[in-house]
């Protein structure tokens, strides 16, 4: 699946997007954050406060317990500040 990062999540990780293949035990958005956090210091820094992180699956906002099965694109970003 494709993973995208925005705003300071993107800056901390250092890339805008990547394709990942998480192991079978990674079922929810929360699981995915946990797994991504183990991939290096930059990820651990970006996800150090997982409760602050918002997620979207295929362009729709989702909660941390949302299942990631079948997702084409998952995005992680801080709370929105547009308008």
């Amino acid at each position: 699946m494709k993973v995208k990062y925005f705003a300071w999540v993107r800056e901390r990780i250092g890339i805008t997007e990547e394709t990942v293949e998480p192991p079978a035990g990674v079922r929810t958005v929360d699981d995915l954050i946990g797994w991504l956090s183990t991939r290096g210091e930059t990820y651990a820094y970006a996800f150090e406060k997982p409760k602050v992180i918002r997620a979207a699956i295929d362009h729709t906002h989702v909660k941390p317990d949302a299942a990631i099965a079948g997702a084409r694109e998952i995005a992680f970003f801080p709370p929105m500040t547009g308008g």
């Binding site: 705003a7 979207a56 362009h59 995005a75 970003f77 500040t81 547009g82």
Partner: protein
């Protein structure tokens, strides 16, 4: 609803008069157009802002705005909606966002415009980065914006 819906995310500035004309041209049934324009301001929490950079999630931003425009259309008798959100780097005084709502009467137009702005602030994937004399940093979300959006939630 009978009327145009326009949703754009763009770097270019918008012309408010031209956008209003786009909603009211050849129409004699519209009695109210409410305009909200959001402008880059220089004072943010007592710090002087030199510039703002707006980042967005292409694709989702337009879709998320569309979902809220559709909800507004289902809740109020509207005759046209325009939402334009700019992205890029802005100096104080420059336009950032435009919401236009057209209706026969003002109440629906006012309420729908406020509803759309409250959700644009909390739910549309845009992020502001601020440059000031003390440095550069991402703007933090305000609880007051979440509260403003929450009051539209129907139980």
């Amino acid at each position: 609803m009978t009327g145009p819906v326009t949703i754009r995310v763009q770097e270019d500035d918008f012309d408010i008069a031209r956008e209003i004309a786009g909603l009211t041209r050849d129409r004699t049934d519209i009695g109210a157009v409410v305009t909200f324009s959001g402008i880059c301001r220089s004072d943010e929490d007592s710090a002087k802002v030199a510039a703002l950079t707006l980042e967005h999630y292409p694709g989702m931003a337009e879709e998320e705005i569309r979902r809220h425009v559709d909800e507004a259309i289902s809740r109020w008798p509207l005759d046209g909606v325009t939402v334009i959100h700019r992205v890029g780097r802005f100096m104080p005084g420059q336009n950032i966002v435009l919401v236009l709502t057209a209706s026969q009467h003002r109440k629906a137009a006012f309420e729908a415009a406020e509803f759309l702005m409250d959700y644009l602030k909390t739910s549309a994937p845009f992020w502001k980065k601020e440059e000031s004399a003390t440095g550069t940093g991402w703007v933090e979300a305000h609880a007051r914006d979440d509260e403003a959006a929450a009051r539209w939630t129907r139980s």
